[in-house]
Symmetry: C2
């Protein structure tokens, strides 16, 4: 196991996890080919948290192979970016939508998002490696 | 072989290929785990073109497995995005940097980018499937 305290994230690029930016999530599809999906996420200082539906392709991909990568660019300087490689270490239920609302609030300032009210699960992602630029 | 005329790209999202936006490129690393890398690209109406160094990890990944995915969001509406899945069908030399300068011009308006003058190769990517939202 690697550290679970977020220490693999370079201090120089931690701000990209703390801001409500879009991450692009790379997972592996059934035939072994890559998929890239823009996602919202939360960061608790140790794990990235992504809310998704249990039928989503990205979730099904990670059930087959939990390894993934996310890249996030600094909108103020697109040459500056962070890539996090890691894996899904848990899938948490979110029956009351508590975590989903936390993520919606992080991105929109509001507690709800019209049209986004189906049941969600939370992918808990442990960072293992990073690369960064800028 | 699939069509080489860009017809797999939905007309509703073609603008995301025609604008100088950052694409996030998903490839597969040596141990089979995903990698996600922000990249500049050019679009000739049929292929995405990415300039990279011959030693780059993303190039080496595609030499092993040419399948890849790219996702691009609309900066004016991040819920709107295009994912292109396809493969590298050719690796073109660019000894005089002609294609590299075209890409630099597309993104910066200038013909050169300080620090970006090493030899480059061009990954020619054929789209095969897409997904989109918004």
């Amino acid at each position: 196991m690697t550290a679970t305290n977020g220490s693999v994230i370079p201090a120089s690029h931690r701000d990209l996890l703390e801001a409500p930016l879009i991450a692009h999530l790379a997972t592996t599809r059934p035939q072994g080919e890559p998929q890239s999906t823009p996602v919202w996420f939360d960061w608790d200082g140790a794990h990235l948290l992504i809310a998704t539906g249990p039928e989503s392709q990205k979730f099904r991909n990670t059930q087959r192979d939990p390894r993934l990568a996310l890249s996030i660019i600094d909108p103020a300087n697109p040459a500056r970016y962070l890539e996090v490689r890691g894996r899904v270490i848990a899938v948490d239920p979110d029956p009351n939508g508590t975590r989903l609302r936390t993520i919606i609030r992080r991105y929109t300032g509001a507690d709800e998002l019209p049209g986004l009210n189906e049941a969600r699960i939370i992918l808990v992602i442990e960072p293992e490696r990073t690369s960064s630029m800028g």
